[in-house]
């Protein structure tokens, strides 16, 4: 029996799911600007969702202020990666249930 309440509501929102997926897609950190372009989101919208995920402990941001323009690079935390994998497992169970 699947407990649907186990679906992580933080990840379940589409914009946040997009952010989590992009971050999970590779080991390298993602710059804020690249996330914005790929997700086609405004600065304000993206930062709001990033803050929610940061507060949940799913991602971390690191600011870089080298010679060029300062930028923030985001990566999934271990907890974030586990939450994403768990979320996928539940989605898979739901889909298998419908077969």
């Amino acid at each position: 029996m699947i407990d649907f309440s186990k679906l992580d509501k933080t990840i379940h929102e589409k914009a946040r799911l997009g952010i989590m997926t992009l971050l999970a897609s590779r080991a390298n950190p993602w710059p804020f600007q690249d996330l914005k372009v790929e997700l086609e989101m405004s600065d304000g919208n993206l930062i709001t969702h990033i803050r929610t995920l940061e507060q949940a402990g799913y991602l971390t941001g690191e600011k870089f202020t080298g010679d060029g323009r300062p930028q923030t690079l985001y990566t999934l935390t271990a907890a974030g990666r586990k939450a994403f994998v768990d979320y996928l497992a539940i989605l898979e169970q739901i889909l298998n249930l419908g077969k």
């Binding site: 799911l17 992009l22 590779r26 372009v37 790929e38 989605l91 739901i94 889909l95 249930l97």
Partner: protein, 213 residues
């Protein structure tokens, strides 16, 4: 929306995002075929030439392939309503350019200053080995963003490039075979043969309505 439909929709979002995180995979099939055909032609045209004249033929071929690849990229990004200068492309270029520049530079240096005394390894053969080897390294450098098939292609170039050096130097028994193939033959067999084989597999196995390899 039922829970099942919602789960399917969420998986669709994940799939789309995963595809965006990779480079344009649909580019590889057609670009590989054009690159392969161009390399076979360059192999034929460069036969008998030496030094920078030999290298020039390959540089012209490379320029034609780059123009085609850029046109293909623009066309695909317009069709998919995606920015050309995507994150995947930027990261892929960051990974691929260093080995490409290094290999191109070393090959041209060997062509320009390589020894021509009797018994020495042909400068063109060394240049071809440098280019094949470094192209393989470039493909392997973007393996994180490329389909698995491209990793195999990179490994094939890397192995052939190393074999080219080995057969030109310490594996003397294999040198006659490599010498008979010649630098143009080595380039045509790898940049031509490998790409044609790879492109044919990708084009015939990839659905036309979406990216993939």
């Amino acid at each position: 929306m039922t829970t099942h439909e919602e789960a399917a929709e969420q998986l669709r979002v994940i799939r789309t995002m995963m595809e965006r995180a990779t480079i344009f995979r649909a580019l590889s099939g057609e670009a590989a075929l054009v690159g392969g055909a161009m390399s076979v032609a360059a192999g034929w045209l460069s036969e008998g030439k030496i030094g920078m004249k030999w290298g020039g033929v390959w540089l012209v071929g490379l320029a034609v392939v780059i123009v085609f690849a850029v046109w293909q990229l623009l066309r695909l990004s317009k069709a998919n309503e995606r920015p050309v200068w995507s994150h995947g492309l930027k990261v892929a270029l960051r990974g691929a350019l260093p080995p490409l520049i290094a290999g191109g530079f070393l090959g041209l240096m060997v062509l320009k200053y390589g020894g021509r005394e009797p018994g020495a390894v042909k400068a063109e053969l060394m240049a071809a080995s440098f280019w094949v080897l470094h192209y393989g390294l470039a493909l392997l450098a973007i393996r994180e963003f490329a389909p698995r098939s491209m990793v195999w292609l990179g490994a094939a170039f890397l192995a052939t490039g190393l074999a080219g050096f080995a057969c030109s130097t310490f594996i003397q028994s294999a040198f006659p075979v490599l010498n008979r193939l010649g630098p143009s033959g080595l380039m045509a067999a790898t940049f031509g043969g490998f790409h044609l084989l790879y492109g044919a597999v990708i084009v015939t196995t990839t659905p036309r309505d979406g990216p993939g390899a």
